[in-house]
Subunit: 425 residues, 2 copies
């Protein structure tokens, strides 16, 4: 089995200022093509440490993936350490990366400085994979038996997470070509509204009966719910797909409408697809979610086709004056109530002219809780031309996590309303 | 200087199923008492790997902190590896931990099983620090020169984050007693609006003149700008603080109002503090940022004191009908224009009654760009009782990243407007 090590360079990780999320992403990507990650390592921006740690990892592994330590400023000395490690005689310029750097700087209205230009310089013994999302290129160093006792490759990626994530696609392509990694077939099932432990209990008999070689993983996420990933190695693509579909036929009736997608996508993508397919539009009226629902919906490319807009009504006066929630409802039931959530959703539809609307009103914390509505309580509303539904949920997390759960629950509530009306048409 | 290594054991980290947050917490705690973390390492639940990796770290470091691999299930084999590593002859029972286990099980209505009782068993060559938050105790192994060439200590902590965090307090106490540790001093300077490379150029002469032992790090973040961190080791807290302040006196005039905070906080926290201190309120009118500004502002606890609400006007009709942007402005200048941004901000103030408002209108992409306003273009507006300002920015990232840059730039633009008016009062 091909073995890999993931190394993260940067003092900011060692002093705990940032959490390393790159390693986890990279290891998932490697696992997906059947490569086993043996170690993950973080060490500081120190030349000797970089050289000795990377040498050791190259001796032990087929693939070493390095992130970080490639910024333009002087605390980043990874590149000179890699030049030394690879026995490069000097540096060469990557014309392709220089073009990207020029374009990025121009788009920001900046002049090319020497330190920008230097980012296109790489040790002469490496191959370059251009980084289209940033200024530092991916460097690929291939080593033979004379170097570390066996053939091995080192990939050096930028540390900025979205650049590292973007670069991994090209790196995976390079690895597949050079190592001829096998095929693996994944099926992702997105569920919302059932906690991981309860879900595991529900599907235990199904899981226990999975055929040899088929593996199930639970991947919970506050904004996506629990993602189930069914993996199978070794067969042809068609055989694997058919084997997975046989299991899916047994799983669907168990989970019912808790499954919101059988692709690896989000609640907001699912809502967007449902709306686009039916030519309908939506709006939102947000209180405790403070704009997060809108932000999630508009993070999807093309959202302007079905998303009209929203009102974030944090202050009571905005609920009354802009949304038009009647004074009487607020006075009689309070803002954290089924009636207020319903009125917010209905009024969002009315003032925006959308087909559907979703609303939230609750207490994210840390302050503001009452006996009746403790911190973590939310009322969610969803409204269509035919009806308005509400539900109450409670969570017990910190502010940020509560807001995330509120927003995801609201999107899921809206998703179910849209689905139920489409099924009946 | 005392050096440490943090090791995390568990296959779930290597396959990317969970992100390791313990290491970051532990490294901050060690840094705070002046201990330098040289490496962080993650490896799997494999006995030989555990023994060889830990031996290597003990040879190189004074302190090795291990988390994970102590659960009751059989894939956790850390304890037997530690018994072997320490040359223990057998296991002993920790009476104190057994009491805690009994109490925890009883509170959950569970009976004591053999696998629960085994958690109180530890290798006979270790000292126990009881874990009051869970069933697996902290094990402390002290080694002499004959073992790994120098005196060193290994602390084995449970992997569950809140148990590891809780246990670190006792571990820090033990380390302070045995090593008589010193202090480290950090100062964080938050800047926005200057790219990392341009910033490095601007402060190069200042950076080159930093005294021996003082270290500068650049930490760019799309939502926070570039964070500068100045660190100094070795002196007393007062001396270090004074030395850093001497450098800050020279840095402030160079960066001017690009510095938005001298604490480790965000643009939205800074805007919130400025508003709270002056008793003012804000609102927002968002188009291309789709609710992200509101979501960021309301992520701060207590935001309801100064944040009234917002309108997300994705559709043109909502700009007109809810915000009240005049038809004429849209017809004459288009929605992506200085005039529209100004009108959105002014109307947000008007309809919400806030003191300040911020607005955005632009093209996040991937579609929708024109020659005049390519993808990545945003007009930002900021309005107060005294004036309305606008600015145009362009970025060239993917949709999500463009939206983040738009929102952060808008918050920074608002921050500068509020600051300028407070300075003049």
């Amino acid at each position: 089995m091909i073995q890999a090590s993931i190394c993260t360079i940067g003092d900011e990780i060692l002093i705990g200022q940032i959490v390393d999320t790159n390693s986890s992403y990279i290891s998932r990507a490697l696992n997906d093509i059947g490569i086993r990650v043996r170690r993950m390592l973080s060490f500081g921006d120190d030349r000797m440490t970089i050289i000795s740690s990377l040498s050791e990892e190259l001796r032990r592994n087929d693939i070493v993936i390095v992130t970080g330590g490639l910024g333009p400023t002087k605390d980043d000395i990874t590149k000179s350490a890699l030049a030394k490690l690879s026995g490069s005689k000097g540096y060469k310029e990557s014309g392709e990366q220089l073009e990207i750097i020029t374009r990025i700087l121009r788009s920001r209205g900046l002049d090319m400085l020497d330190i920008n230009r230097q980012q296109a310089l790489v040790p002469d013994r490496c191959e370059v994979i251009p980084n289209r999302l940033g200024t530092a290129p991916v460097m690929v160093f291939r080593f033979g038996k004379d170097d570390f006792g066996h053939e091995c490759v080192l990939y050096s990626l930028p540390g900025v997470p979205f650049e590292a994530t973007g670069a991994m696609q090209d790196v995976i392509g390079d690895i597949s070509r050079h190592f001829g990694t096998g095929e693996i077939f994944h099926k992702t099932i997105m569920t919302y509204g059932i906690a991981e432990s309860a879900l595991a209990k529900m599907i235990e008999p199904w899981e226990d009966a999975l055929p040899e070689g088929m593996h199930l993983a639970y991947l919970p996420d506050p904004l996506k719910g629990v993602r189930l990933r069914l993996s199978i190695y070794g067969g042809t693509h068609e055989d694997d797909e058919a084997a997975v579909e046989r299991q899916m036929k047994r799983l669907r009736p168990i989970l019912g409408d808790a499954i919101y997608s059988e692709q690896d996508d989000t609640l907001q993508e699912t809502v967007g697809r449902l709306l686009r397919n039916s030519g309908k539009t939506m709006s939102a009226a947000e209180s405790c979610t403070g704009g997060l629902i809108s932000s999630l919906v508009t993070s999807v490319p093309g959202a302007s086709e079905y998303y009209l807009g929203s009102v974030t009504s944090y202050a009571v006066d905005i609920k009354k004056n802009i949304l038009g929630v009647p004074e009487e409802i607020i006075g009689r039931y309070g803002v954290v109530s089924s009636e207020c959530a319903a009125s917010m959703a209905e009024n969002a539809r009315r003032i925006t002219g959308s087909d559907y609307a979703v609303s939230t009103t609750g207490v994210a914390g840390p302050g503001g809780g009452t006996d009746e509505n403790p911190v973590g309580t939310v009322w969610i509303g969803a409204s269509s031309a035919f009806r308005t539904l509400t539900c109450r949920k409670t969570f017990r997390n910190d502010r940020i996590r509560n807001i995330e759960r509120f927003a995801a629950s609201a999107l899921d509530f809206l998703r179910k309303l849209i689905q139920s009306e489409q099924n009946h048409c």
